[in-house]
């Protein structure tokens, strides 16, 4: 048996791949659910916090900044483990799935709040002044003038950050979430062959490659001539 054959046998073993394909497919489904929940709730909360911050109530803003910095500083894995293992002590026992979702949601909330905030503050003061001088209220100016411009600016960094954090769904494997990596790892232990891991890598590519392309497309589509 040549080295090449051994390599193929180890990492691209067709028989084993076929056997564990349904498991990986199931893991993909769980990853997609988890990712969708994280993205939707994390970005919505991040935007909500950025809007709240734009109102300029100082004590509220200090709190937002503290929470945001906290979750930007903590490694997501630490938050997952904390929620999963520490909360049961106060009689809240979230599942591994919920722990992973909440953790990644909090991290994405923190990062997206900063990105939205940067977008909002980057809109020149003259835009606010022009709109307010015609009688538009604060809220109308925010919605019709500032946010449409700010959101375009936030798309590239937000896409990058979202992809990075959503890939963190793989961390769910430490709290027994049956997402792609979790399914692949147990398949590796059961088959004594790492080919399911290759399958898992393929599954991640199938999920996240289109997201990267979509981000790129949005970026060009949203550009406007100054």
């Amino acid at each position: 048996m040549s080295n090449w054959d051994r390599f193929v046998e180890t990492f691209f073993n067709a028989k084993i791949m076929a056997k564990y394909l349904p498991d990986i497919a199931y893991g993909m489904l769980v990853t997609v659910e988890l990712a969708a929940l994280v993205i939707v709730t994390g970005i919505a909360l991040g935007l909500a916090l950025a809007l709240l911050r734009s109102l300029g109530f100082r004590p509220v803003n200090w709190l937002i900044i503290f929470v945001v910095d906290l979750f930007r500083a903590l490694p997501p894995l630490v938050i997952i483990v904390f929620i999963y293992f520490a909360l049961p002590a106060v009689d809240v026992a979230p599942s591994g799935f919920v722990s992973t979702w909440l953790s990644l949601m909090l991290v994405l909330t923190a990062f997206s709040e900063e990105i939205f905030w940067a977008g909002i503050t980057s809109i020149p003061r003259g835009q606010w002044e022009a709109a307010r001088s015609t009688g538009l209220s604060y809220g109308q100016t925010l919605v019709s003038v500032v946010l449409p411009q700010a959101l375009r600016l936030t798309i590239p960094p937000l896409t990058n950050r979202t992809i990075a954090i959503t890939k963190g769904t793989a961390l769910g494997t430490v709290v027994a979430v049956s997402e792609i990596l979790g399914m692949a790892s147990s398949a590796v232990s059961n088959s004594y062959n790492p080919s399911p891991l290759t399958l898992g890598a393929g599954a991640y590519l199938i999920l996240f490659f289109p997201m990267v392309v979509f981000g790129r497309w949005l970026e060009t589509r949203m550009a406007w001539k100054h």
Binding site: G126, A131, T134, W224
Partner: protein
């Protein structure tokens, strides 16, 4: 005596330790055009911005078209429709067409339907000679055209007074004329206007009154011929002398 559209009395403005306006009085009658000149940092723009409360006066009173602008019970957003403002840097919304820029407040503030707002918006663009540019975005327009769209955005709301804050300072010289032309038309239609600008030729021809400000106070005011020809105050003479040398 003609009705006063703007009546600002005893306006003070502090920015921290900086005393930018030191008790300024400025009135404007119906159909009147007042020019405000003065060195940079003299408080001209701040004064203008106090009139529609883009800047909060530290003290004093501002009455525009009979509405007390500093009364906390005044609906500021409603009152601001009556005060058009044009900025040095145009401040058009880059994500909207020219027509979109003009119709936004018509729809959101004046409560017009989209059709009605579009009709009024096109009429306003027509007045500034840009009917054929309605669908263009600001990025596709020259500076002069952008500023005219900004004027259309303000006049579409049928204001009682127009405030111009150095409307031509950011323009290339060959584009200044088109904006001044639109301002001249507005003037002829009887619009009350306060113009902060250094376009002295325009001031001479079009202004009813010229106000010279320095260091946060009005030094001297009068008809253009008097201010430019025979200024009384030494400070005014020095300023006029300087700008006329250029």
């Amino acid at each position: 005596m003609p009705k006063l559209i703007v009546e600002a009395r005893g306006i003070h403005k502090h920015f921290g330790a900086l005393h930018v306006l030191k008790g300024v009085d400025l009135v404007l009658a119906e159909r009147e055009l007042v020019f405000v000149i003065g060195p940079s940092g003299s408080g001209k723009s701040t004064l203008l911005r106090c009139l529609n409360r883009l800047e909060e006066p530290s003290s004093g009173s501002v009455i525009v078209d009979g509405v007390d602008m500093l009364d906390p019970r005044t609906d500021l957003n409603h009152a601001r429709q009556r005060i058009g403002m044009v900025f040095q840097s145009f401040n058009l919304y880059p994500h909207m067409s020219a027509l979109g820029n003009v119709t936004l407040a018509l729809r959101k503030v004046a409560g017009k339907s989209r059709d009605e707002a579009d009709r009024l918006g096109r009429a306003a663009l027509e007045r500034v000679g840009l009917a054929d540019r309605a669908g263009h975005t600001p990025g596709q327009l020259s500076g002069g055209q952008q500023q005219r769209v900004a004027i259309a955005r303000a006049i579409a709301l049928e204001p009682r007074v127009m405030l111009f804050d150095e409307p031509t300072s950011a323009l290339d010289p060959e584009l200044v004329g088109s904006v001044l032309g639109v301002m001249r038309d507005l003037r002829e239609s009887g619009m009350a206007m306060i113009v902060v600008s250094h376009e002295m030729g325009f001031a001479r021809n079009a202004a009813d009154r010229v106000v010279f400000m320095a260091e946060g106070a009005i030094v001297e005011e009068g008809p253009p011929a008097a201010i430019f020809g025979t200024p009384v105050q030494e400070r005014t003479r020095a300023f006029i002398g300087q700008i006329q040398r250029h």
